[in-house]
């Protein structure tokens, strides 16, 4: 039996389209999941680093971690560009789900090039946002 004759009619167009999509997304950096650009550790990173932390004030000790805390860093990266209504909605939800009086969102900045021994020097912490049941308030 010929292998070519046995392959379904659509097999070759499918294989061409499939391999083409894998190659285009991979080499062209298009992230059209599941055709990924496979960008795992290939992003350019400078020595300037930023991180975010949220602290609930007056939260119940047994309060569950709010769903909205997932990927805090990616949320906070674009938080300032959201509309006030969107910022308020997120903040109110976080505060309520934490059962807290307020949720303080801190921004941490540090330079990897500034070293203390083998490690980077401690980051600079600054209060960026205060979330309450009434909404979001940017730190002065």
């Amino acid at each position: 039996m010929s292998t070519h004759a046995a392959a379904p009619r659509y097999a070759r167009p499918f294989a061409a389209a499939f391999l083409g999509a894998v190659a285009v997304c991979g080499f062209g950096s298009f992230n059209a999941w599941p055709f990924s650009n496979w960008e795992l550790f290939s992003r350019l990173r400078t020595d300037a680093q930023t991180s975010w932390q949220a602290a609930a004030v007056g939260a119940r000790p047994d309060a569950p971690v709010p769903h909205g805390y997932r990927e805090l860093t990616s949320v906070m990266r674009g938080f300032a560009k959201l509309t006030p209504a969107e910022q308020n909605a997120i903040c109110v939800r976080w505060t309520r789900e934490a059962g807290a009086r307020a949720v303080l969102v801190y921004r941490f900045d540090w330079l990897l090039s500034v070293r203390q021994g083998q490690r980077a020097a401690p980051p600079h912490r600054s209060l960026a946002w205060t979330c309450t049941a009434k909404g979001a308030h940017a730190a002065p």
Partner: protein, 159 residues
């Protein structure tokens, strides 16, 4: 031209039906495991302002995350469909359904601001499996009582 023929012969080479069936069972069981052990409902009920599909994502067809109940239902349907596909029962329908549900569930995870590569490779493998048609009923027969010799792209065309 000769190179193209060699590539073509490599891509569409004859394969033993039992190995194809083993591939189908393995990939489907892996998907079932991933579906059963991932918490999709956790992020499903995020509010609309936190719904951030990637620029090229099919999730842009939606305006917000599905409800907790919808995510659980999708997960249950996907697991059952994947197990049916692993067994070779109503393979095309079952695997199509499983992949569709899996795409939606992974889309939920990917719409929280960061695309997770995680199951991308598995999904691509399953798309190839679906297109190859290796799960027709004859393939199940191959698994139970293997066909004689080798066949190309599953047992569907086997004598």
């Amino acid at each position: 031209m000769r190179l193209l023929e060699r590539v073509d012969a490599w891509l569409f080479a004859a394969e033993d039906a039992r190995r194809l069936a083993a591939m189908r069972i393995g990939l489907c069981l892996l998907l079932a495991l991933r579906l059963a052990t991932t918490d999709y409902a956790h992020v499903a009920q995020q509010q609309a302002s936190l719904f951030r599909p990637a620029p090229l994502s099919y999730m842009r067809l939606f305006t917000h995350m599905p409800s907790h109940e919808v995510a659980i239902a999708l997960q249950a349907v996907a697991i059952v469909a994947t197990l049916l596909a692993a067994a070779g029962l109503v393979f095309r329908l079952a695997l199509s359904l499983a992949i569709a549900c899996s795409l939606l569930l992974n889309g939920i995870l990917d719409s929280t601001g960061r695309v997770i590569v995680g199951d991308a490779l598995l999904t691509l493998c399953l798309l190839v499996l679906l297109a190859s048609g290796t799960g027709f009923a004859p393939t199940t027969n191959c698994w139970v009582t293997p066909c004689a010799g080798t066949v190309c792209v599953g047992c569907a065309s086997a004598p």
